[in-house]
């Protein structure tokens, strides 16, 4: 089970393995930060949008289903709010 992501200016897609059917937007951002060694607290944020529908995922708690292709845009802005990493497979309700 994987979600495919691509930076808008890059040429091809990378993939991130997820457990379960969904991954939350916040969690996905975390994983991308890790896998691309972007570091934390550096002053930019990631905007995630669906590659087919161009719909932007604004809500951090929104769930992205598996096998989705997403486009990532690195934008300047405040560092993201640190979130508590949550298990993303079965829980659809937001956790504290």
């Amino acid at each position: 089970m994987a979600v495919y992501y691509k930076f808008k200016s890059a040429k091809d897609y990378d993939s991130i393995l997820i457990e379960g059917q969904f991954i939350s937007v916040g969690n996905l951002k975390e994983r991308i930060f890790e896998s691309k060694h972007l570091g934390r607290g550096t002053d930019f944020d990631l905007m995630i949008s669906n590659a087919q529908t161009n719909e932007e995922y604004v809500d951090e708690a929104a769930m992205i289903p598996k096998n989705t292709s997403v486009l990532i845009r690195r934008v300047p802005g405040c560092p993201r709010m640190p979130i508590v990493t949550e298990p993303d497979e079965y829980c659809l309700a937001p956790q504290f």
Binding site: K8, S9, K36, R74, V75, P76
Partner: protein
């Protein structure tokens, strides 16, 4: 920058304090495939280091330009950067192969050379700052934009000062690194530098100068070499220029003597000014014997890693040592942190150590300071100024200062944030020049001028069609068409008909072997043989129309002749066909019954043993002297008739 459908990108660097993808510019905010031209001003990491990534790993497909010296030094600098990154950080943006591949795609431009790409004209001026640094002036459809990159208007030991362009641009994109700060005068700065070094080594300490291997380092080496020559007491204290590419860097500098200033060039006639007498190259820390005082210039300038960091870790504990930071320090690097002289620093291995060495910040970084910026803009007088390449607060202060300075002129000054776009409107007059025959006399107001409008890039020219091949690579051609039309009638018929339509139907001037005529002075009709006629005409709207009409008319004549014959046949109805068929059938059946049957005027004459019976084919009336024969023929006819005739439909 986008204007009139053309997109240009200026510079392609990285943020020196970050590493990996976090150091890249915000490439996701632009569409790399739309960029026509990428202009790189100079080789510093914050202007050129993401070029291999941009060329190899994004959808960019435009052209890249930089000056000769920039390209040569870019290669060395980025190879070094990649090696340094590989040691400290796992995630690299690109590798040596990407750099080598990018070298093929980079094109070079010389100072003051104008190039035109896709309607975009650009050229570059000297910018000072470092060897090969350029300011680019771009001209699209008459609107000029000047991008300064990093520049300095002060001449130093080996570089020229920045030039002032001879005409003012519509937009000036200018650096604001030093904001409203002012530099000390050059000799004051140099004296401070040499004094610090002299006193440190006199006490037995070591001096670390973290600097890029190429760039300001050469300036400092020139200063040190000169100072050492003038101070014989220092001759036993070594100066090291530590870089794995020390030799190659110096070779590049020796190649591009011609872009340096007068002083160096005249010195070069006697001896190579970069052949230092008191400075030795140092490849790595293993070759370094750390005995006694010494001066070492090592890279990188931010003290993040590499040789300068190794030496720093070794020497920071001793208070006799000194660190002289000669350039602009970037937020987030160790060099910036130690300027504030903290009590402790973190070493490369993670341990904390006390910072006892002296830290001096003497900037040689050759950027324009506040006075230079004001003077430059004053001379240039651009109506729009955009401030870039600076820290937010400093930039804000500079903006305020410039607003007050240019308050009386209608100058717009903008300082956009990252990813904030600036939109400006320019209206320009569209001008077309007449050249060649059309330009021989000046037309009056209200007079009509007609010709061909030729557009090259954004310039328009009007010329007569005959001049087309003179002033452009296009040329005009003539097409002659010929068509053969099947025609079996008399040539005179065509001529007669044509004379009814057209005024001018003449015989040609030259003698021809076959009957020929010329219609409307353009279309030539010849009767080649009894089968067909040919038409020939030069292709243009009117001649095409004439020939079309002639062809239609010739075909019409051909059709009218056989039309009389064909109408008879057409009139034949299906009924007649059937009737004829029936008669035939009756005739053949009678013949098989009675033998001798003749058809005379629609009646059948049947002869049996000398008796003759006459049957009317249509109504079945039989005339015969012999009653028996008459009966027989009547019955036969009735039966045949019912067999041949249609079966009547049952009426229901």
């Amino acid at each position: 920058m986008t204007y009139r459908g053309k997109t240009i990108m200026f510079d392609c660097g990285i943020h020196p304090a970050y590493s990996g993808m976090a150091a890249l510019p915000y490439f996701d905010e632009i569409d790399p495939s739309q960029i026509d031209v990428l202009l790189v001003t100079h080789f510093h990491l914050d202007h050129a280091a993401s070029l291999p990534y941009f060329l190899e790993k994004t959808t960019f497909k435009g052209r890249v330009f930089m000056t000769h010296a920039t390209k040569a030094i870019y290669r060395l600098l980025l190879s070094d950067y990649v090696k340094v990154c590989k040691v400290s950080v796992e995630d690299m943006l690109y590798d040596e192969q990407d750099i080598i591949r990018s070298m093929d795609k980079i094109e070079v431009i010389d100072f003051h050379q104008t190039l035109e790409v896709n309607g975009i004209r650009f050229w570059c001026y000297t910018a000072g700052h470092v060897l090969g640094a350029a300011m680019f002036m771009v001209d699209i459809a008459g609107v000029r934009v000047l991008y300064t990159g990093d520049y300095s208007r002060e001449e130093d030991r080996h570089l020229r000062a920045a030039e002032t362009p001879q005409f003012s641009p519509d937009i000036c994109i200018i650096e604001s690194t030093y904001g409203i700060q002012t530099h000390q005068p050059r000799h004051v700065r140099e004296k401070r530098f040499t004094d610090v070094i002299h006193s440190t080594v006199s006490q037995g300490g070591r001096v670390l100068i973290p600097a890029f291997a190429l760039g300001r380092a050469q300036e400092l080496l020139l200063i040190l070499d000169e100072y050492w020559s003038n101070h014989p007491e220092l001759h036993n204290i070594p100066i090291y220029y530590a870089s794995p590419l020390a030799k190659r860097c110096m070779a590049v500098y020796q190649t591009y003597i011609n872009s340096m200033n007068e002083r160096i060039r005249s010195q070069y006639l006697n001896s190579n000014p970069f052949d230092f007498k008191h400075i030795s190259p140092l490849k790595s820390i293993e070759n370094f014997d750390d005995v006694g005082p010494s001066v070492v210039m090592a890279s990188p300038s931010g003290l993040q890693s590499g040789l300068s960091r190794q030496l720093f870790d070794k020497w920071c504990g001793d208070k006799r040592n000194a660190c002289v930071i000669p350039g602009y320090v970037v937020e987030g690097t160790l060099a910036k942190t130690i300027i504030n002289e903290p009590k402790e620093v973190t070493l490369m291995n993670g341990l904390m150590a006390p910072l006892n060495m002296q830290v001096h910040y003497i900037s040689f970084s050759a950027h324009a300071d506040s006075d230079q910026t004001s003077a430059f803009l004053d001379e240039l007088m651009p109506p729009n100024i955009i401030l870039v390449h600076g820290e937010a607060n400093e930039m804000g202060r500079l903006k305020q200062k410039l607003i007050t300075q240019f308050a009386d002129r209608n100058t717009k000054i903008m300082s956009p944030k990252n990813c904030q776009s600036v939109e400006m409107y320019f209206s320009s007059e569209k001008m077309a020049k007449t050249i060649g025959k059309l330009a021989e006399k000046t037309p009056e107001v209200g007079e009509t001028v007609s010709g061909l409008l030729v557009k090259k890039g954004f310039t328009y020219q009007i010329m007569a069609p005959d001049d087309l091949h003179v002033f452009s690579q296009l040329s005009t051609a003539n097409i002659t068409q010929r068509i053969s039309v099947p025609y079996t009638g008399a040539f005179g018929v065509i001529k007669h008909r044509l004379k009814q339509i057209y005024e001018s139907v003449e015989s040609p001037k030259e003698e021809t072997d076959v009957p020929t005529m010329v219609v409307h002075e353009k279309v030539t009709i010849r009767q080649e043989s009894d089968e067909y006629v040919t038409l020939q005409w030069p292709s243009d709207p009117i001649s095409d129309m004439v020939s079309d009409s002639v062809v239609a008319m010739v075909l019409n004549i051909s059709r009218e002749g056989p039309k009389v014959v064909s109408t008879e046949e057409v009139n034949k109805t299906a009924e007649e066909e059937t009737e004829k068929m029936t008669q035939k059938v009756i005739h053949s059946l009678f013949a098989s019954l009675f033998g001798d049957v003749k058809v005379v005027e629609g009646k059948f004459l049947i002869t049996v043993d000398g008796d003759v019976a006459s049957v009317d084919g249509k109504n079945g009336e039989v005339e015969c002297e012999n009653e028996g024969l008459k009966e027989r023929v009547k019955t036969a006819f009735r039966r045949i008739r019912s067999a041949a005739g249609p079966i009547p439909l049952p009426t229901s």
